[in-house]
C-alpha cells in the first residue's frame, strides 16, 4: 500500500483511482469536486436550484462514464469541466436543464430547502454575478445565453420565444446596465 505521505501521488492519479474504485470511492470523488462543479454553474449565472440540477446531471454523467477518465490527459477537473459545458450547452439549447443520465441512473431530483440553497449560494457572491441577478428576467436570460453560454442570436430567439432583434436589444441593454452597476460598485 502506498505511503499516505507519498507526495508523488498526483491529484489526477488519485482521481483516477477513485473513479476506478467502488461506490464509496465515487462518493469521495464527489466530495472532492462538488464545490468546483456547483461553482462552475453559478459563475455562469445559474441560480442555486439550477446549479444543483446541472451538477447532479454532471456527476451522473461522470459516474456513467468514469471508466473513460484518463489521468494522462489531465486532472479530473478538466474532464468534469468538459462534461459540465456539455450539460450547460444542451440545457440552453433545450430551454430546460438536461437530466437524461440522472434519470437513467435512477437518481431522484433534489428537493432543496433554504439551508441547502444558502450553502450553494455561499459559492457565489461575485459582483458580476450579483449584478447579473439584479437584471430584469428577460435581459438576464438574454445576457446569460449570449455572453456566458455563447449561444447565437438565432438559438436564443427560439429559446426565448422572440425575434432576434428583440434578443439583441435585451443583450445590449443588459450589458449596459451591468457595466454601469459594476462601475458604481467600484
Amino acid at each position: 500500500m502506498a505511503d499516505p505521505a507519498d507526495e508523488t501521488t498526483t491529484p489526477a492519479a488519485e482521481d483516477a483511482r477513485l473513479l476506478a474504485g467502488g461506490a464509496f470511492d465515487f462518493g469521495v470523488f464527489y466530495a472532492r469536486h462538488e464545490d468546483f462543479v456547483l461553482g462552475f454553474f453559478l459563475r455562469r449565472g445559474r441560480s442555486a436550484e439550477s446549479a444543483a440540477d446541472m451538477a447532479a446531471e454532471t456527476f451522473a454523467r461522470a459516474l456513467a462514464g468514469r471508466r473513460r477518465f484518463d489521468p494522462a490527459r489531465g486532472e479530473a477537473r478538466g474532464w468534469l469541466t468538459g462534461i459540465a459545458r456539455h450539460v450547460l450547452a444542451e440545457s440552453v439549447r433545450a430551454g430546460r436543464t438536461q437530466d437524461r443520465v440522472r434519470r437513467r441512473l435512477g437518481i431522484e431530483r433534489l428537493e432543496l430547502d433554504d439551508a441547502a440553497l444558502e450553502r450553494i449560494n455561499e459559492l457565489a457572491g461575485e459582483p458580476a454575478i450579483d449584478a447579473l441577478r439584479r437584471l430584469p428576467d428577460d435581459q438576464q436570460a438574454a445576457v446569460r445565453g449570449r455572453i456566458i453560454d455563447g449561444a447565437d442570436y438565432k438559438q436564443l430567439a427560439v429559446g426565448l420565444g422572440c425575434s432576434q432583434s428583440v434578443v439583441r436589444k435585451r443583450v445590449s441593454r443588459g450589458v449596459s446596465t451591468l457595466r454601469a452597476r459594476l462601475k458604481g460598485d467600484t
Binding site: 500500500m1 502506498a2 499516505p4 505521505a5 507519498d6 507526495e7 501521488t9 498526483t10 491529484p11 492519479a13 488519485e14 482521481d15 483511482r17 477513485l18 474504485g21 467502488g22 461506490a23 464509496f24 470511492d25 465515487f26 462518493g27 469521495v28 464527489y30 466530495a31 472532492r32 462538488e34 464545490d35 456547483l38 444543483a52 451538477a55 447532479a56 456527476f59 451522473a60 459516474l63 456513467a64 441512473l105 435512477g106 437518481i107 431522484e108 433534489l110 432543496l112 439551508a115 441547502a116 450553502r119 450553494i120 455561499e122 459559492l123
Partner: protein, 392 residues
Amino acid sequence: MRLPELHAAMVRAAETQEAAAPPTRRRLLSRRTLIVLVACLVLAGTAAGAVLSLTRSRPLTGSINPGPNGGSSLYSIQVFPMMTVGWSGWCIEAEFAGTAAARATAYGCGAVEDSGPLVAGGDEFASSDRSYTFGIVREDVASVRLPEGKIVMTVADARLPVGTRAYFSPTHVIHKLPNRTRAVTFLDARGRPIGSPSQTAANAVQRLPVRTQLGGNPLAGKCTITVRPLPSLRLLSETVAEPEPWPRGQSGALLSCANATFRLGEATIGLARLVSSTAPSRSAPNLPSVIPDPHHPGLLVGVAVGNLGFPSGVFVADFGGEQPFSATPAAAAYSGHDVSARSAGSGWLVAEGGTPTQRALLLARVSDEGRRPAAAGAYGSAPLGRRSAGST
C-alpha cells in the same frame, strides 16, 4: 459538503452500478474493509490538498489545545437521560474547563425523535474563531462525515448509553452564524451513508399525557413516587405519566414516567423514576455517565448531569466564562446538579440536588414499586407507604 443528499444519491447510484458489475469485481469489492477505505481517504486528503481528511474522534474526556477560549483546556462530554416526565430523551453536555475565565459549556436536551443514526447531540458550537462538533450515535455508525469533508471515526465508551458510540472533533470552521447546525453524514463500517427515517406530522412523537399535583395529595397511577414519611420531608409537587412503550424505540433509551420534588430540611431534591422506553415492564438499560458511589454502597453517582425541569429541545452554548447558562438563566436552576441513583423494580430512581447523603436518605425511603392505587390517602402518611408497598 453542500448537498449531502446528492452525495448520498450518487453513492447509491454507484452501488447500483457496482452490483451490476461482473462477479469477480463484486467479490473484490466486498472484501474491502474499513481499514482499506481509511487508507484511501488519507491518501485522498494528502494528495489533493486535504479536501478530505480522516481522523479518530477524541475521547469523551481529555485535554484539547487550543480550547474554545484559547490555551489548553480540559473537556468532558456527558450524556444522561432527559428526566422530564412523559418524554424519552437525552441531555448532552460538553464542558471545557480552562482557566476560570476560559470555561465554556454547551448543553442541550431533546426527545428521542426517531430510531435513526443520531441518538443525541449532533450540534456544532463555535466562538469567533473555533468550532466543535459532537454527538452520540447508534453503534452501527462507524464514522461521520462533516460538511467540510472531514471524516471522524466514532469511539465506544462504557459511559455512553447502551448500544451507542460517540464523536467529538474540533472543526476549525469559521461560521458566519454562531451555533449553526450543519448537515452531518453518518457512515457505516463500509463507508456507506446511513439514512434517517423521515418524520412527518403523522408519525411525530407526542409527549405522553401527564398529571401534576401540587402539595400533599398523592396521584394514583402505574408510575408514581411513594416515599415513607420522615418529619423533615415534605412533598412540593409530583408529576406522573402512564408508562407506555415509546413509539420510537432507540437503543439504551429510558422513559421518565414520574417526577417528584421534595423539601428535605433546607434542601430541595428532585426524584425521577425511569423505565425502559420500549418495554416499561422489562429491565431498563443501564444509566450512562454514572459510577458506583464509594460512600453509599448500592448507589450510583453522576456529576453535574441532573436535568430535572430543563426544557426539552433547548440548546445553550456559552463561551463567556463562569456562567454556563447565561442565554437562559432560568435553566441554570434546574440542571447541572449532581445525581444519585439506584435500581428500583425494573427501572431506576434518580435523585438530583442536595448533598450525596441527603440524596441517599431520600432514595432509601422511596418504594421500589411505582404503582399507587386510587384509594391512597394523604401523601406522606404511614398507611400510604404500607398500602403502596403492599400493592406489589
